[in-house]
């Protein structure tokens, strides 16, 4: 008789959580592999336009970024609400672009310099005026390979 009463414990036995770490590790590894760290803190708000004919940018070390958009609300008092150019971590002027390109170019080995690309991350609401000025500056700086950064849109047939 005692045998039966011993096995009858009160309540359900605890669910084993031994496999929980395994699951979490799996998710963890997924994120570790897909992760790319944020390089710059954006001071402007950017919503990229959409396009279907996009190409992936390869070789990220060869890419320099230029951002254009309206300053984020917290900084609008300082910079106004007109679209601004951001290079690295700073809001910059058109005249700074030449030096920025030269600095980026100087960081790359000479034989690789023709592969350098400038990625333009421009907010879709921006007017073309500032973009055109920027393109002229890039031409002056001989940074001719550019990439209009855009989100991939599924092709409509």
């Amino acid at each position: 008789m005692s045998k039966f009463s011993k096995n009858k414990k009160k309540g359900a036995s605890a669910i084993s959580t031994a496999s929980l770490p395994d699951i979490v590790f799996m998710i963890l590894f997924f994120f570790m592999v897909t992760t790319t760290m944020k390089e710059t803190e954006l001071k402007i708000k950017i919503k990229l336009p959409q396009a279907t004919e996009v190409k992936k940018l390869e070789n990220k070390s060869m890419v320099s970024y230029i951002y254009i958009g309206k300053p984020i609300p917290a900084l609008q008092e300082l910079y106004g609400s007109e679209p601004k150019i951001q290079l690295n971590d700073q809001i910059s002027e058109l005249t700074d672009i030449y030096n920025y390109v030269m600095a980026e170019r100087g960081a790359v080995a000479e034989e690789l310099q023709p592969q350098m690309t400038t990625s333009l991350k421009v907010d879709e609401e921006t007017e073309m005026g500032i973009v055109t000025d920027l393109k002229q500056e890039l031409r002056k700086a001989q940074a001719l390979k550019i990439n209009y950064s855009s989100r991939k849109m599924v092709k409509k047939k």
Binding site: T17, A18, L20, P21, V24, F25, I27, L28, F31, M32, T34, T35, T36, M37, K38, P49, Q50, A51, T52, E53, V54, K55, K56, L57, K60, V63, T117, S119, L120, V122, D123, E124, E125, T126, E127, M128, G129, V131, T132, K135, Q136, L138, R139, K140, Q142, A143, L144, K145, I146, N147, Y148, S149, S150, R151, K152
Partner: protein, 209 residues
């Protein structure tokens, strides 16, 4: 004697550690892949008047005004039609007077032989051998915009222009290599690019009504 239980290692805190790392990577992650429309700017010239002279029929003028309206060769056009217009302009199947001129590959080859440009001679020889003596368009699309044009509209139009070239390339690749352009080998892609170069001119901005 009863069997002795092997004492289990407590793995309970393992989950905590893993969670901690997981949350760190979740926060630090940006998932976006960088992609976009690649384009080459023309080199800077001091004397702007020194522009390339191109016959009028070989230039397809695409304008976007400040109200984001699209005009092709002066006529208001729906952006949806732009792709077909561009394709027709390049291919000019009926040899119309007002669309782009073509030049036979063999004719181009002769010119390069005269100029003794080894690299081009080799390329065009291969082109004629593999694809055949095809007509190569002299057409250039000139994309002009106003300072007030919205960037999203500009990209949309760029996208249509690139799409038209990509479709032409795909069609040729399917015909010759029975493959999509992107699945062709680099050598094959090079030849197809010779036939359909991405000739979109990023002209100086102009202001117009």
């Amino acid at each position: 004697m009863a069997k002795r239980d092997v004492p289990e290692i407590n793995a309970g805190s393992m989950a905590d550690i893993a969670f901690l790392l997981l949350i760190f990577f979740l926060v630090a992650t940006t998932m976006d892949v960088d992609s976009g429309i690649t384009r080459k700017l023309p080199p800077w010239v001091v004397d702007q008047a020194q522009d390339l002279r191109v016959k009028e029929r070989n230039v397809l003028i695409v304008l976007i005004n400040k109200d984001n309206q699209l005009a092709v060769e002066g006529n208001l056009t729906d952006p949806l039609n732009l792709k077909d217009i561009t394709k027709e302009f390049y291919v000019n199947p009926a040899d119309l007077e007002n669309l782009s001129e073509g030049e036979m590959a063999s004719h181009k080859l002769e010119k390069y032989i005269k100029a003794n440009e080894e690299d081009n001679i080799r390329k065009y020889n291969r082109l004629i051998k593999e694809i055949g003596d095809v007509k190569i368009s002299k057409g250039i699309v000139s994309l002009q915009n106003d300072r007030g044009t919205k960037y999203s509209k500009y990209i949309e139009i760029q996208n249509y222009l690139v799409a038209s070239i990509n479709e032409l390339r795909d069609e040729l690749a399917e015909k010759v290599y029975e493959n999509k352009f992107n699945d062709c080998t680099e050598d094959q892609q090079e030849l197809i690019q010779l036939v359909y170069p991405l000739s979109i001119s990023e002209a100086e901005p102009k202001s117009f009504k």
